[in-house]
Symmetry: C2
Subunit: 97 residues, 2 copies
Amino acid sequence: MEGRWKLVIIHNLFGRDGGKPPVMRFSELERAIPTVSQKMLIQQLRCLERDGIVQRTIHPQVPPKVEYQLTCLGEALRPTLRALLDWANIRKQQSSD
Amino acid sequence: MEGRWKLVIIHNLFGRDGGKPPVMRFSELERAIPTVSQKMLIQQLRCLERDGIVQRTIHPQVPPKVEYQLTCLGEALRPTLRALLDWANIRKQQSSD
DNA sequence: CGGCATCCGTTCTGATACTG
DNA sequence: CAGTATCAGAACGGATGCCG
């Protein structure tokens, strides 16, 4: 199950540069990534959880509240994502020739 | 068309650490990646070529000889792949606890 | 709010056979 | 050697409806 949303989700869970990694609710992620369907979002989140990249926290209350945040292993992906974004910039520069 | 083979192909085209990026024939890539089908290999290579990551060189001769190598943009992915491999090591360490 | 179950068309992929 | 063509099964992904 190879999803192209994982990087987008992780990127959102990194938060803005300089800020702390946010803890996000399901609906927040939905709003942050408007193009992903609910089904895909939950599926990819479950997958990331199984892989130990994302931690899922259930707060037993009504209405339900579930929060997602990166694990230590997830945080460790930051250099990788940065390298990838750097590459995207190189690519953009080249294509603007 | 999201393929899980692209990284494997690129990794092979990087060559061994310390060596120069190799120029590989189709059959060499086939042998280097035994688990990929011929169809997928050619498909992913074509895709990487369209994306400007891999250069395909046809030598008009009999028997045919086609060589693949990374473009400049493809080479620029090296830091990204390295970061990813570093992360894989972190992951391996954690799971061996 | 944060899901899960189901249907259903689209896409992907492997296997196999064939070609210049 | 380096592909192309075709077919069938598997996987993907969106839409919809229901639930605690």
